[in-house]
């Protein structure tokens, strides 16, 4: 069994078999992470560049750790300390890095479509670590893995994504991925944060958090992205919290069996209350652990492909 694709650009154009293979392979690496020596020699001699044109804590650390635990050599690139500041174009930067003989590129960029462009100008295997408001496939994969680990399946589950759907790349990747795995996906947000025609994707739209909590098995709560001008779509964070914030009250009133996910970073007291973020319904830190396993699986499957 191997992936039918050479790159992981997003979940829109990947088959459910490929998703299944990544999730199953991640189980193997999840076990590796529990060992006293959390490292395997599988990608020895493979060089991976982490090309981060946008800030990131979790994703970047998670990828770097995944690479190291597979024994790959890693290079880290970030705009703040690079020649981008001197005016070098993206294409030139990539060509120069590639001339150093690298095998894979993990890329994050504020513009959508950069991974697709990179695939055209580079021979390396490309992994999308988030491109603008487009996709963030490894985050969606780790969300799916975490849900599957907790609830035993994805097929037939009702999963609601709460928060800034329009600006959230996590939302789009989750919608593509979960639908392919047979889950029923819905969203819940103020109408100003929901893209037009979302229903044509087969996604149910809620504007009432209580109803969403009542009718779903899982809430995947996304962050209100202040850096992407989310402030122009809601009157105030306080008001957002009052109407859409997931609080202990919302859960206890509507659905005590619900599973809460959040990809982080959390804005406590905005999209989710501290009580919920630290409470018994959530698996937020499991998601972080699983993220390393998912990224190891993706890097392994792409990096050992001939």
């Amino acid at each position: 069994m191997s992936l039918s694709t050479k790159h992981l650009l997003g979940l829109e154009n990947i088959s459910s078999n490929d998703i299944q293979l990544i999730l199953d392979t991640a189980t193997t690496f999840r076990e590796v992470l529990e060992r006293p020596i959390k490292k395997v020699p599988t990608l020895k001699g493979t060089t991976i560049v982490n090309l981060f044109y946008e800030n990131s804590t979790r994703t970047r650390l998670s990828f770097e750790l995944a690479e190291k635990r597979l024994s790959a050599d890693t290079l880290n690139f970030s705009t703040s300390t690079s020649s981008t500041k001197k005016g070098e174009t993206f294409k030139d930067t990539v060509r120069n890095i590639e001339a150093m003989k690298i095998d894979m590129i993990v890329v994050r960029h504020r513009s959508a479509g950069v991974p697709q462009y990179l695939q055209k100008i580079s021979n390396a295997a490309i992994v999308n670590a988030g491109d603008g408001q487009h996709e963030h496939p490894t985050q969606a994969l780790l969300d799916m893995y975490s849900i599957r680990e907790k609830l035993g399946k994805l097929k037939g589950l009702k999963i609601c994504i709460v928060g800034d759907i329009e600006r959230g790349r996590v939302a789009l990747s989750n919608i593509y991925g979960l639908q392919k795995m047979g889950a029923e996906v819905s969203v819940c947000a103020p109408p100003t944060m929901i893209p037009k025609n979302l229903e044509s994707f087969g996604v149910k739209v809620y504007t009432d958090i209580n109803k969403a909590a009542k009718e779903n098995d899982v809430l995947n709560i996304l962050r209100i992205q202040l850096e992407r001008d989310a402030g122009t779509t809601i009157p105030s964070l306080r008001e957002y919290h009052n109407y859409f914030g997931v609080t202990a009250d919302v859960i206890e009133k509507n659905n005590k069996d619900i599973l809460i996910l959040h990809p982080g970073p959390i804005n406590r007291g905005v999209e989710v209350s501290s009580e919920v973020a630290d409470g018994p319904y959530q698996i937020i830190l499991d998601q972080v652990t699983n993220g390393v396993a998912i990224r190891m699986a993706v890097l392994y499957l792409l990096g050992t492909k001939n």
Binding site: T28, E31, L301, N306
Partner: protein, 180 residues
């Protein structure tokens, strides 16, 4: 795939497993400090059978774990087909234990080399012993088994197929013409 010979039948397999269990107990003076580790896929079932025998003979119950050494292989760059990985399941500590590593067929020794590295990453055992159902020769690594069910001299154009009831609906060992 043409079958050239049936080398071991069901009764023969049972006798071989019985002898291997006895030899393991003899060498280790009982099962006090041993743990069994079966190598995926067929080695897992050989190990389970040996464990059942040990329970029967010795009235003791050593730990059994399953090892997948795929991540330690040396042929990722040369193989055309990507090998499938599955999960290692060893829930006990192997430190200071006598590990008996169990596989179905010993051939080039490369899988064994990978398995040794994998075991060493799980702890520091006091010894590792190697038990195989069939040794078919043609080693490419300096590896030798401590316990051998049957030595079967083969040509490189042949293959040894171990069938286990648990997944193959049959207990037998066949010598077959290798599919080119």
């Amino acid at each position: 795939m043409t079958i050239k010979a049936k080398i071991i039948d069901e009764a023969g397999l049972n006798r071989t497993i019985t002898r291997l269990a006895h030899e393991i107990l003899e060498r280790n003076k009982g099962s006090n400090n041993i743990v069994l580790i079966g190598m995926r896929t067929r080695g897992e079932f050989v190990a389970k059978r040996i464990l059942d025998k040990i329970i029967e003979i010795d009235n003791s119950n050593p730990e059994l774990g399953i090892l997948d050494a795929t991540l330690y292989r040396d042929d990722f760059r040369t193989r055309l087909k990507q090998p499938e990985v599955s999960v290692t399941n060893i829930t006990f500590d192997i430190t200071e234990k006598d590990v008996v590593l169990i596989d179905d067929v010993l051939y080039t020794g490369r899988t064994t080399r990978a398995a040794l590295d994998a075991v060493m990453d799980l702890g520091r055992p006091s010894s590792i012993q190697f038990c195989v159902l069939v040794d078919r020769g043609h080693r490419e690594m300096p590896i030798i088994a401590d316990f051998v069910g049957k030595n079967i001299p083969t040509s490189i154009n042949e293959e040894v197929k171990v069938k286990m009831n648990e997944i193959d609906d049959e207990d037998a060992v066949y010598l077959i013409e290798s599919p080119k």
